[in-house]
Amino acid sequence: MIEVVATGPLALVEDLGRPGLGQYGVGPSGAFDRGALRLANRLVGNPEDSACLEALGGGLELRALAAVVVAVTGASGPLALYADGAPRAGDRRSPVRLEPGDRLSLGQPTAGLRSYVAVRGGLAVSRVFGSASTDTLAGLGPARVSVGDRLPIGSRERQHPHVDHAAERPAGGSLRIVPGPRDDWFAEGALDHLVAATWTVTSASDRIGIRLDGPPILRRDPTRELPSEPMVTGALQVPPDGRPVLLGPDRPTSGGYPVIGVLVDADLDRAAQLRPGDELRFRLR
């Protein structure tokens, strides 16, 4: 077991989610930065889809109650490790062995927003529809992680990892967008406007959607109503105020605002690491 000493702003159990249940109104949920979750699991020798902790910002602190191997991926920033209260060495993106009583603490990220902590064996929490992920919108899966929680560790480990350090993901650039499916609902030149503008991530962003601020995107006919249609993660939904919302893994399964474009799948992980105040640009695929 591993004990939660501090959570930071939000810590959740996530795996690769529960895709495929959209027809029942159940969204995919799961790690926002799927590549980081997969990497964390690989570093400790778990199957890639094992349950990890997804920590927002800094402040998560864990204490090992038994010897465990962990790895931290996702955001970059300081990682503090303590054995008997004394600092000891250890890096992000490397497997780290904790002895009973050792503590691990995530500092404020210097780049990125979400960190993933994998524990060798995987977190053994109860599953809903085959997934241990917390869906913050639908209220499915385990409760958010709280101080004092003791998280049981499973036995999903496979071979010992052969990698001792993974490279940092190269920094971003613009995010690629496929136009549509409702780009024809917007005023002439709206797509040009979308890629020309600089967008700012607002503090109202979460796992449901990353809310962007910038010069509003105008609709062709503001009074026309779109019959509710299925959504995908990465969709840029444009509400009547013209400020797009990039839908995250805890998105609703359907929505009534037109989608001007959808992020290419490979760029979603980078979007997951956007912080409030970050500026971003889009380009058409």
Binding site: Q23, Y24, F129, P252
Partner: protein, 206 residues
């Protein structure tokens, strides 16, 4: 020549296509029955069907196959009709009657007489949008949604009727309540009402 079931196909990112069609649950069923390589999920909406595919799928081939999808004619099947007993004591019954310009009794009668079918699920897990509501009961949503609507609330809004499967916030107008369980995470499927299911509301004897 019959009109094609799918009138338009648009890209929805690089992992999905969005199909415009008149009968989403029937088109979704037809796509599932065809078992197309690379298709990982089929989700109906009000006037659309989303087809998610894997990275390896050939979208050109997929588009051609989906454009030719022809749903079978369906006849109402008693086996797939769910009857839901309702106690018509909802807080918005009087308002709906006033908006519709009919009596409360007429609202209750028209709601029971409507031949309803699940078009799609959305909003929250197991929340089924029922189409086929008598046009006289087409009323706007509340201007201020309730912060808490109890599970089992039977409601109408716009062209739809629905039952809240779990407690949630909501802006639909509440006609009554049912004790029928619409959502159970232990069951497969977890939702009682899935796209294509026919629904009848029946007043509970009081």
């Amino acid at each position: 020549m019959t009109t094609p079931a799918v009138s338009r196909i648009a890209l929805c990112g690089d992992r999905a296509l969005l199909l415009d069609c008149a009968d989403p649950p029937a088109v979704a069923d037809a796509i599932r029955l065809q078992v197309i390589d690379g298709v990982v999920e089929v989700v109906p909406g009000a006037r659309t069907v989303l087809v998610r595919h894997d990275a390896a799928a050939d979208t050109g081939r997929l588009t051609r196959l989906l454009a030719a999808v022809a749903p079978a004619e369906r006849t109402p099947d008693a086996a797939t009709t769910v009857t839901i007993p309702v106690r018509y004591d909802g807080p918005d019954l009087a308002d709906v009657a006033e908006l519709a310009g009919i009596s409360r009794e007429a609202v209750v009668a028209l709601h029971q007489a409507s031949d309803l079918e699940v078009a799609f699920c959305g909003f929250s897990p197991g929340f089924a949008y029922l189409r086929g509501l008598d046009p006289r009961l087409h009323v706007p949503r509340l201007s201020t949604p309730r912060t808490r609507v109890p599970a089992g609330s039977v409601a109408v809004a716009d062209v739809w009727s629905a039952v809240y499967p779990r407690e949630s916030p909501g802006g639909w107008r509440l006609l009554g309540t049912t004790t029928t369980v619409l959502w159970d995470e232990r069951l497969d499927p977890p939702a009682l009402l899935t796209p294509g299911t026919r629904v009848r509301f029946v007043a509970e004897a009081t």
